[in-house]
Homo-oligomer: 442 residues x 2
Amino acid sequence: MATITELTVKDVRFPTSLEAHGSDAMHADPDYSCAYVIFKTDSKLEGHGLTFSLGRGNDLVCNSIKYMGRMVVGKKVSDIFDNFGIFWEKLVNDTQFRWLGPEKGVVHLATAGIVNALWDMWAKMEGKPLWKLLVDMEPEKLVSTMDFRYLSDALTPEEALAILKKNQSTKAEREKELLSKGYPAYTTSAGWLGYSEERIKKLCQEAMAEGFTKFKVKVGADLKDDIRRCRVIREQIGYDKVLMTDANQRWDVQQSIDWMKQLAEFKPLWIEEPTSPDDIMGHAAIAKALKPYGIGVATGEMCQNRVMFKQFIVEGAMQFCQIDSCRLGGVNEILVVLLMAYKYRVPVCPHGGGVGLCEYINHLCIFDYICVSASMENRVTEYVDHLHEHFKSPCVVKDGCYTVPKDPGYSAEMKEESLLEYEYPSGSVWKKLFAEGKFTPE
Amino acid sequence: MATITELTVKDVRFPTSLEAHGSDAMHADPDYSCAYVIFKTDSKLEGHGLTFSLGRGNDLVCNSIKYMGRMVVGKKVSDIFDNFGIFWEKLVNDTQFRWLGPEKGVVHLATAGIVNALWDMWAKMEGKPLWKLLVDMEPEKLVSTMDFRYLSDALTPEEALAILKKNQSTKAEREKELLSKGYPAYTTSAGWLGYSEERIKKLCQEAMAEGFTKFKVKVGADLKDDIRRCRVIREQIGYDKVLMTDANQRWDVQQSIDWMKQLAEFKPLWIEEPTSPDDIMGHAAIAKALKPYGIGVATGEMCQNRVMFKQFIVEGAMQFCQIDSCRLGGVNEILVVLLMAYKYRVPVCPHGGGVGLCEYINHLCIFDYICVSASMENRVTEYVDHLHEHFKSPCVVKDGCYTVPKDPGYSAEMKEESLLEYEYPSGSVWKKLFAEGKFTPE
C-alpha cells in the first residue's frame, strides 16, 4: 500500500479583477485564486486538490496547508482511508493549531485543500471519478469517513446509515438517469453587479440558447438599480423560468426583509446571503418574514462548518443549502451536511464559481441525488463559466445540465502550463502584469 | 497630528508546554504565544498591541497582520480616531481578504492585534490608561468607534448611546470605588487538568490566603476524575465560596447536560464551553436543561465576533458573557458586545490567561463597571498567574481583586528583553531550547 511522501503547495492566482468577473455587493474586485495541493506517494499515485480564495491572503492558506500537511506526509494511505473520520477529526484538532479556528476561516480553508487532494488520490487509486467512488462505497464505510462530534442532537451515525441504506436498491436507476440527462444547473454569469444592461441582455439570450432555465442576479447595492436589473432579466427570460437573487451579505435583518418585499414582484425563488453568514437566527427571521411572498432564504458559501450548518438547517434559517466544496473541510464534512439537509428536508444547491468549485460540486450533487436525496425537486447547482480551461478534466454543462464526469479523481487537477503561468508571484502571466504595471507585487 | 509610519510584527512564543500550564480537555500542550504589534509614528508616539495564540501557526497571524497593517501605515492618527468605527469596518472588509474570514479565525485574531495597538497609541497620546480614556470619552464619541452592521435587530446606535448616557452622572463614584477596592477576580491557576491532587490542594490554600473566593476547575476528560477533583476543591474552599467548571468544548449537547447533572452536587455557578463554541442553539438547550440545577452556561473565549455574541445573548445561550480581548476584533468590537450584554441583562466575565489577556481585560471590566453595567452582581474577571513578568505594566491582583492600572496605554507593552529572548525562532531562549533538543524548530 502506498505511503504519502511529499506535499507541494502552490499559490495560484488569476487576475480576474481586470474584468470585473465575479463582482458583487461586498467583493468588488476578486482575483480568483487557489491554494493548490499535490500529495505524492512512493508509487505513481498522486492526489491533487485545491481550496479557493479571492486573491490577497491566499499565501496564508498555503502556509496553513504546509503546517497541517505534516500530519499527512509519512502516512500510509490505508492509515488515512481506513479510518478517515478519525483522521479528519485529528487534522482539525491539532492541540495548538485549533486555537486559530477552530474549524473556520484560514485553517478550515486549508483543511479543504488537504482533504480534497486526499479524496482525489483515493478516487484515482480506485480508478473512478470521485462521485462513483462514493456511490459504490458501502454505507458503513461512508459513515466511517464522517465526524459526528457536535452533531448528535441533530444526526447520529445510525440515522446517517439508515438514510444511505434506504436508497441502496434504487441507486442504479438514478445513476443511469444522470448519465443520460445530467444534473440541472443555473447560471450566474449574466447577473454580476458590474455588468451593463446590454451585456446582461446578451448573456441572458446566450444562456437561454444554451438551455439554461434558471438565472441568478446580484442585488443589494442600490434598490432602484436592483429593480431595473431584475426587470431587464425577467423581460428576457419571462416568468416561466426561475430567477434567484443574491445580496452577498449586504444587509441587516430588517433591511433584508424590507428590500426583498420591494423585489417580490419579480418572483425570486430565493434571496441568497441577505445578511451576515454567521447570523443563523437573523436568517431564520428573514425566512419567516419572506415566506408569505414565496421567497426562500439560501446561504452556505460562507457557512464555516457543519456545526453552523446544523443550526441553519434545524432552525429553518436556510430553505436552500448551499454547500461550498472548499469552505467546509472537504468531502468528509460535506457528506455529513448532505445527510443533515436530507433529514430536515432542505434541498442542497451547491455554490459554484471561482476556480475549481464547479468541477467539485458536480461530483457532490451527483452523489447527493443517487445516494441521499433521490429527488431533483427544488435542487439546482450553480454554474459559472470561468477558468475551466485550466483543468485537465473540466466540468461540462450541456443543455443547462452538468454532465457526469468520467475521468478518475475529483476533477480539479490543473494543467501543468496553467500552474506555471499563474503561480503567484513567480508565474509568467504575473511577471508580465507586474512589468506592465497592471498589478503591484505584494 | 502624528502620522503612522511603520509597522513591526514579532512572533513571540513562550515554551509553556514544558510545564503543562494551561492544559485542558482540548489543548493539552499550549505554548502561550502572541503576535506582537508595534506601530511607530513620525513623533515619539508608539502603539503596542498583541493577539494571543497557542503556538503553532502564530506566524500565520503575524503575516495576516502585515497584510492588514497596510491599511494603517501612512494614515494620520486623526484619520483613524476621528472615525474609528468606519475605519474598523474597512479594516475587516478588504474586498479580497474578507473571503478568508470574514471576521473570524486567523484574520480576526490579526484584527485584534492591530486594533489593540491602535487603542494603546490613542491612550498614550492622551496620557491615560485605556480604561480612563474610555471612561472620560463622550458617549457620542464612544458610539462612533463601534460598527453596528448586522446588529440593528438587537442594538441600535441610539440604544447604545442611551445606555452610556444613563450612567454618566454617577461615573465618578464608581471610579473612586474601584480605585480603592479593585475589581473582583477568580483564579483558574488551581484547576488545570494536568495538575496532581496535592498540587490542587496547595494551590487552593495559597489562593485563599491571597484573598480569592472564586475558583475554576477544568472538567470533561473523565467523569469520575472530575467528581474526585471537584470534591477535592470543595473540601478545600467550602461551600460559601464560588466554584466554576470549564469543559473546553469537550462534549456534545446531550452529553453536556448528562455530565453536568453528575457534577451538580458541587454547586458550580457555571459550566463553561460545554460544547462547540459555534453552537448557539446547543448552548441554549444546555442552559435550559441546567437551569433547574442552578448552573448557568458561560462561553465566549472562542466566540468569533459580535454577530455570534448577538445570537448567544439574545437566545439565552450564555448566562455569563466571556469576552476575549484578542478573539474579538479589539476594543471597538468589545464595546458593542458589552452594550448588547447589558441590554439583555447578561453579566460580562472576561476571559483571562494566556499571555497579556489579563492585562487587557482589567481595563475592559473597569470600563464595563463604571460606564455600562454599574453593577458587580455575578461579575468576576478571570485571573491566571502566568507570564506577567514580561510586561512593563503588568496587572496586579490584590486581595482577590484586580487593581486599577495607572500607566498610560493598554498595558500590554512587553519588556524589550522579553521580546529579544522569546521571539520565535530567533530569540535566545528558543535557540537554547533547540540546542538542548527540547523543541524542534518548525
